[in-house]
């Protein structure tokens, strides 16, 4: 009765084998490495970059113990931190000659030391959370009402232009909160305007009201359009953050959306938190100015000499100098969007800019007065300006829709659009949660978590072996298997392991032993009642099963609640807790039964079981003690 069919043993063996395989990478530890990834969307890290890196290392007299190129990033592993830092400098010099023009991000990282064949199986060590490896965590809240207001502002400008084109006379267009209000003298114009809005502005919905002798049409964003605006604002902010973080040289930054209006940024290994915060919170400004085309300015552009009074010299991205006037025509505040695209007539690559109402008015006046002259679009970051582009004005541009074209490839157009957009955030952001963990604290936390699990495990195992003898040994082995499987599953899922997660690991082991205690006690009880050893084992496992299931389900309910409603540290705890309960069902019941069956199952005339003292109350005893 206590025998497993072969397939059950096969399942156990497969589980153990897979478990060990995926747990293995955790034992190899991590080696210092240098990671190269693209700093700009247009740049690819490919074999040519690998060749450059190899050459740079060779000339620096360094050898990487492994060099892998995967998922658009190149990772070089080194034996010591010393050569890692030297290598980083060498690679940085080779790939990024100009620090202001970072096409590649060269960052220090840690790589698993596990051999190639394990990595090929996608077996990687557990992903350590920030509290274990050190780093910074930010949660940023995007100010969505501001994004919506900005959108309303730009739509108001567009409506004004369209109505002028159609010769519709209005008594004033104004933005009130997120609504656009248009006043009319008579209803017929109102009706015409309403039709116009319905035709041309699909994102708007209108309501009308009489106000004194006037008629008022108020247009608001449709809910789905509002959602789209918010979505775009969030995406743009994420892009901006990506660009900024690339400068920090972080190996594996996590930048992701959380909820509808939040962004989580995690920068593992970053120690200079002040700089990180500075970069995240930085506001880049965009300015449009006129290029000084006087002969002195021309001369200064060419000769690097003195610039005329009232002008400044900035460099274009290709290194060419441009002398621009100090007077600012427009700032990025007036720019609502920038998209890459194509010129309608020439099919040249172009960047389409959208200005808000105020910007459009100023832009029209400036372009009318300066046809044939050049204007420059400058981006200021870290107090340093750069000319993004300096096109020639061909004609008066009204309506706030500006197209920059000529001498641009599609890639460049993309880049310019991104720069213009990314330069400014779509909506202001505020840091609402911040966590910084120093690297030494991370290492200490690992040691603390590890010690807690190890000593707790040893204490429980020692007690079990002592109290339940051979059955205790089985239970302890089952508990070890539970730990193995839990670590394997966590490594497989690449779930983030945090200190609370390690605490959950310890706790779940303490709880998992419950199942074995239940079984062992039950077997003892059966023996006490005088049942034969084989029958006692059978009954013990069978009867304990229902109880184990019930009790694990209740624990699992609590775990799921934590998973569903928890955030941050609680979630890390809950993931390990839930997984641990699931693996414990396998190890404590199925696996330990396998061990017992293997040991006792074949003995037909089993006289005694090594499960510690089976005590019987005197008088009722069958006078036999194991």
């Amino acid at each position: 009765m206590n025998r497993y069919p072969v397939w059950k043993y096969a399942i156990i063996l497969i589980a153990l084998w897979v478990g060990s395989l995926y747990t293995l990478p955790n034992f190899f530890g991590e080696a210092p490495a240098v990671q190269v990834s693209a700093g700009k969307p247009a740049i690819k890290v490919d074999a040519s970059v690998q060749a450059k890196v190899e050459e740079a290392l060779k000339s620096a007299g360094l050898t990487a113990s492994a060099l892998t190129l995967e998922q658009g990033s190149l990772k070089a592993r080194f034996d010591s931190t010393e050569s890692q830092i030297k290598a980083k400098d060498a690679i940085q010099r080779a790939l990024v000659p100009d620090p202001n023009e970072a096409s590649y991000v060269v960052a220090l990282n840690l790589l698993s030391r596990s051999p190639q064949w394990l990595s090929a199986l996608n077996a990687a060590p557990m992903y350590l959370g920030l509290d274990l490896r050190g780093g910074v965590h930010f949660m940023l809240q995007v100010d969505m009402p501001a994004a919506l207001t900005k959108k309303a502002e730009s739509l108001a400008g567009d409506i004004r232009t369209s109505m002028r084109e159609k010769n519709l006379r209005h008594g004033g267009i104004s933005r009130n909160g997120q609504a656009i209000e248009i006043r009319f003298r008579d209803t017929s114009t109102l009706e015409a305007a309403k039709r116009l809005i319905q035709d041309q502005f699909a994102d708007l919905q209108t309501t009308e009201a009489a106000e004194g002798s006037d008629f008022k049409l108020s247009a608001t964003l449709k809910p789905e359009a509002g959602r789209r605006v918010q979505d775009q604002a969030l995406k743009q902010n994420i892009t901006t953050l990506h660009n900024r973080i690339n400068e920090l040289g972080v190996a594996e930054p996590v930048i992701q959306q959380q909820g509808l209006d939040r962004i989580v940024v995690q920068l593992p290994g970053v120690q200079d938190t002040a700089k990180a915060k500075d970069i995240l919170g930085r506001t880049a400004t965009l300015e449009i100015r006129m290029v000084d085309e006087s002969s002195e300015a021309r001369a200064a552009e060419l000769s690097n000499g003195m610039v005329p009074f009232g002008t400044e010299r900035y460099l274009e991205r290709n290194g060419q100098a441009v002398v621009v006037k100090k007077q600012v025509i427009l700032t990025g505040e007036n720019l609502t969007d920038a998209q890459p695209g194509f010129d309608n007539q020439t099919q040249e690559a172009a960047v389409h800019l959208t200005l808000d109402a105020k910007g459009a008015r100023i832009f029209r006046d400036i372009t009318r007065d300066n046809v044939g002259k050049r204007m420059a679009i400058l981006l200021f970051e870290k107090g340093k300006g750069e000319v993004v582009t300096a096109p020639v004005i061909r004609s008066e541009i009204g309506g706030g829709r500006v197209q920059i074209s000529g001498r641009m490839t599609t890639v460049e157009a993309n880049d310019v659009a991104l720069l213009l957009r990314a330069g400014s955030l779509a909506a202001p952001m505020e840091i609402i949660e911040e966590r910084t963990i120093g690297p030494s604290l991370g290492a200490e936390n690992i040691a603390k978590g590890f010690n807690s699990v190890t000593w707790g495990f040893l204490a429980v195992a020692a007690f079990m072996c002592f109290y339940y003898m051979l059955f205790g040994v089985f239970s302890s082995v089952a508990l070890a298997v539970n730990l193995l499987l839990l670590v394997a599953v966590l490594s497989m899922l690449q779930a983030t392991l945090t200190l609370p997660g390690m605490a959950a690991m310890a706790l779940v082991l303490g709880m998992a032993i419950d199942a074995n205690v239940l079984i062992n006690e039950r077997v003892r009880e059966e023996l006490r009642n005088g049942v034969s050893p084989q029958a006692a084992i059978h009954a013990g496992y069978d009867r304990a099963w229902a109880t184990i299931l019930d009790s694990n389900v209740t624990t699992l309910i609590a775990g799921l609640a934590l998973l569903a409603f928890g955030s941050g540290p609680v979630r890390g705890f809950a993931v390990v807790h839930c997984l641990g309960i699931l693996t414990s069902m396998f190890s404590a019941v199925f696996f330990s039964r396998g061990l017992v069956n293997l040991w006792y199952g074949r003995q037909k005339k089993l006289k005694s079981v090594s499960i510690g003292t089976v005590w019987r109350a005197p008088g009722t005893a069958l006078a036999k003690d194991e």
Partner: protein, 316 residues
């Protein structure tokens, strides 16, 4: 080896009234302290900034306090954390000052006093996040309570579900009472511990209820009280050994886990100890008063000739 050489069923239910009175009084005390002192909520719930700074020699707290006070921040708590060299600073959120500026300023001020000051960890939580966390915590608690009740009502009967939840919620309140009384810091990991304990100590009640159900089947002539006594007596060794093992683990966390896991482990310890008490003495007693009967659990037609039960129909 055997710790529990019990000759006869222990008449737990005879003293049920006393046990329940004890529970009730502890419960009232816990509620009283919760209301009179309140929980000492961590920065995660209240919003504000927390900094952990370590020095190369034992830190001078008074000096640190003065330096921070000189910056014009009020309500700042400065205390040792784990060792004498580590200092924990808690500051409420200040309007108009970003967390980054706040922690940088404080660190600069501390470094002026002692150049060895090193920032180990900062945590800043905006007030809106704190409120959400508190709300989410309550939602999680409600989810656990409802989930467990539905499961138990489905597996056993509503009376058992009610008894188990009352007994175990009383554990939760008592843990919170301890945290309020000693003004221990109630943080997110502690909340996780509390909920984990809730799930865990329901286990206890489930094990006993399982035994009660089994006894109802097995011993047809026994009184309900005797059935309960027998169920508790025969599971008590398992209860104590299991909790002992879990406690060993928790103890290891308390010893090796450091200051971060301290309150987490402490909450678990209280939860485990009271978990034993409430499952053994309280849950069954409440179930008894709710009037559990053999007929509630055993559907006569279906269970009559249970082939799996070798003792079916046997009477003792």
């Amino acid at each position: 080896m055997e710790f529990f050489k019990i000759r006869r069923d222990i008449p737990f239910m005879r003293h049920a009234l006393v046990f329940n009175a004890v529970s009730f009084i502890t419960f009232l005390a816990a509620v009283f302290f919760l209301f009179s002192r309140g929980l000492h909520l961590s920065v995660e719930f209240t919003g504000g900034t927390l900094m952990e700074v370590s020095y190369s020699q034992p830190a001078d707290l008074n000096q640190a306090r003065e330096r921070i006070a000189a910056l014009g921040y009020s309500d700042v708590q400065v205390q040792n954390f784990g060792t004498a060299r580590d200092v924990l600073i808690r500051m409420p959120a200040v309007k108009g000052v970003s967390s980054a500026q706040q922690s940088d300023k404080v660190l600069a001020a501390l470094k002026e006093g002692d150049a060895s000051a090193e920032l180990r960890r900062t945590e800043f939580v905006g007030p809106q996040v704190g409120d959400e966390l508190a709300a989410d915590g309550l939602k999680a608690l409600a989810f656990v309570v409802v989930g467990i009740m539905i499961y138990l009502a489905f597996r056993f009967e509503w009376k058992y579900a009610v008894a188990a939840i009352i007994a175990n919620l009383h554990d939760v309140i008592i843990i919170l009472g301890f945290f309020a009384f000693f003004q221990w810091e109630f943080s997110l990991p502690v909340l996780a511990a509390v909920l984990a304990v809730l799930g865990y100590s329901v286990n206890e009640s489930v094990v006993i209820f399982d035994r009660i159900r089994e006894n109802f089947r097995r011993y047809r002539k026994m009184e309900t009280v005797e059935i309960i006594d027998n169920a508790i007596t025969s599971t008590i060794s398992r209860t104590i050994i299991t909790h002992g093992c879990t406690q060993l683990m928790v103890l290891s966390m308390l010893l090796f886990g450091g200051a971060t896991l301290h309150y987490f482990a402490l909450a678990l310890t209280i939860g485990i100890l009271f978990g034993i008490y409430s499952s053994v003495f309280v849950a069954a007693a409440i179930a008894m008063w709710l009037g559990i009967r053999r007929e509630d659990l055993i559907k006569p037609v279906k269970k009559e000739g249970d082939p799996d039960d070798p003792n079916a129909g046997a009477a003792v």
